[in-house]
Symmetry: C2
Subunit: 451 residues, 2 copies
Amino acid sequence: MVGASRRPGKVGYMVLYNLKNSYRGPIYPVNPNATEILGLKAYPRVLDVPDPVELAVIVVPAHRVPEVMDQVGRRGIKAAIIISAGFREVGEEGAKLEEKVIQIARQYGVRVLGPNCLGVYSPSTGINTMFLDPEKQSLPGNGPIAFISQSGALGAALLDVAALRGLGISKFISIGNRADIDEADLLTYLKSDPHTRVIAIYIEGVEYGHVFRQALENTTPVKPVVVLKAGKTSAGARAAASHTGSLAGSYQIYNSVFRQTGAIEVLHTEELFDVAQALALQPPMRGDRVAIITVGGGSGVMATDWLSELGFQVPLFSKETQQRLRKILLPIASPRNPVDITGSGTEDHMAESTRIAIESGEVDGIFLIPYFNIATMTERLADLMAPIAQKAKEMGIPIVASVTGGQKSWRIAKLFEAKTGIPVYPGEHRAARALWALRLYGKWLQKIGRL
Amino acid sequence: MVGASRRPGKVGYMVLYNLKNSYRGPIYPVNPNATEILGLKAYPRVLDVPDPVELAVIVVPAHRVPEVMDQVGRRGIKAAIIISAGFREVGEEGAKLEEKVIQIARQYGVRVLGPNCLGVYSPSTGINTMFLDPEKQSLPGNGPIAFISQSGALGAALLDVAALRGLGISKFISIGNRADIDEADLLTYLKSDPHTRVIAIYIEGVEYGHVFRQALENTTPVKPVVVLKAGKTSAGARAAASHTGSLAGSYQIYNSVFRQTGAIEVLHTEELFDVAQALALQPPMRGDRVAIITVGGGSGVMATDWLSELGFQVPLFSKETQQRLRKILLPIASPRNPVDITGSGTEDHMAESTRIAIESGEVDGIFLIPYFNIATMTERLADLMAPIAQKAKEMGIPIVASVTGGQKSWRIAKLFEAKTGIPVYPGEHRAARALWALRLYGKWLQKIGRL
């Protein structure tokens, strides 16, 4: 930790504070004016650190980074994260400094993340190089989503959102100026990372288009990649240029690359996680036919609208399947599709309808709409649905759910999600878009002969 | 309360229970087999109730409703809410029964809401005829949004959502089969309701198109009307037909009517409240130019994209205004537009930038992006921003905000919203759509010469 500080509030203090709280391995603060920081023995220079070291985290002022990088290289450390700002993003002088740092790193074979970044957060290893104040924001726990962000501030805020939503993260990587390691490198790494099932990326622009394209092409057959591209309009591209200095480029080109490589492009930050969660929990969808099973007729109508607009079919069930459904449902229920179990329907009605729909062979995906604010719809649904969800997964039939409701409903919905692995969204439109992503990825895998 | 029950869980019990808990005036349970229910003296028949009565709430089985309505009429009660189901929605027999009930009501001049509805929830008067279980769902407090729903179950679930979001409701009206009172009647009523500033409607289809159209035309010059229309696609229309029995009709016609009458059509349930809240809190927007003031560059880029796609401009500020901004901002900040105060920017930077933008005369609306997870952005922003928001409102310049963050951020965001009257949304796309609605309503008022 080069540039560790004793002064609370300073970046060099916060990084050490957070790292110490989450990482179980040895940490060596480097500071020429301290012998101990936060209870850890401090060293005047990188060269003075005794043990073998795997990673250097650098927060010293920009002009001191070349000297530090030289010591890092000489010390045999093979990886460095440069948190410090004041490089390419501040103009020509900074760009020259950045080049110099990277030259030194290359000379010693050091791979560099940053500069001008938050670094890495990895819940499974406890590595957390971010200077975020835990009093002001939370971090998500361990989980299947890797998240790469070109914007540090946005990335941090989105980690806070992920924590609120109860989503799990395998790795968060803030790439900053990406003077060495870039999105393409990270895709290649995450493709083989056993902790990562889905990769989510926020980008404004990439520097080496063909390399990025190649990395996408190599990754999507193995794991889904969800991309949020900012700077799509000309005004947005101008704003991106003054933010990350990215040439946002022609959006048409990005859009084509995403379609041609099977990357799933999402529309906004909410959808980035909505879709990543669906892809992490549910199998890709093999066809366009969806069964809607709802306690609320109105929500069934809206789900039908959204699914139709996204290219799905909501086919009427066959006479036989309607017959099977009719037997287990209330007389006032509708077995057609949407299956409206009505507000008097029970957990059993919803679970059994789902089982019948899966077994019918007439649909490729299931869209559940349980309202947890009604008396007959309780936590019991999760227990009934868990084995059915498991069976559907094995059959390659994805299930998503939409819940409209308040605090009490969401407590149950989150339990339901945890027990069944069925992602739950606050609205038909969001669940429909999640299913759309599962279908888009399914189509891609079918196209390349992997499904 | 005709059909009041002593058995917890029954509709006739829940309605009385909820009504008793919220309404301060006298309530008369009617039940031939009870002398007292929930501590209230009960009467065998409506005709036996002693005092003048203003409203009859009817929950008896469908076949008994004609007899009850006759007594309601003879008793001189001028308004009735029929909660009971088993009318037109169950087929021809039910339709005949419904007709009979309405004939009796008309004979005595009784206006009827329902049947097959939840009735009314009015926080200001305490009238609550809904049979919802307070253990399972919450209700919003008093506020400026009137909400009409053709679907009872969806309406209830959305009230729960409104409570979770801290939105205030003036009246919630579930119209059910709308055998007498329909959307058009309610628009006419709510137009003059002093507690209502915005009207939000969920509909699948209307029966008398020209009457509805006329009611919209009369209402929108006075108050904004936000409409969520379900059953837009052919599959959705089919689902609507089996839900509320509505002929969803050609969506193109609805869409034209909304555009021609100045009603604001939204895309989904989240947006229904997003937009209603914006219209309740902020003035209609007079032009297309927006200033974005952000602590996060990435969010500024995404906001620019969304605004551009929705027809707004994010113009570069003039040299003079950039000069004024540069004086108060950090050297690393960007004063162009988006104004990026950066993650090191303070509450003062955001407030002062807003003031300068408003005074510049160069923009018609403001889009704020405070990240409350960063150290320098605290609750203090609300105090600094309150007078500026007030001034902007007087100038007819709307302000919306987007916050990306977790639980701690949202606690501050909600305080900010309450103190400043600036609606806060969880994402640039949603704040942009809220501003779009303010502009759409502004354009409408300009077109009819009211702005």
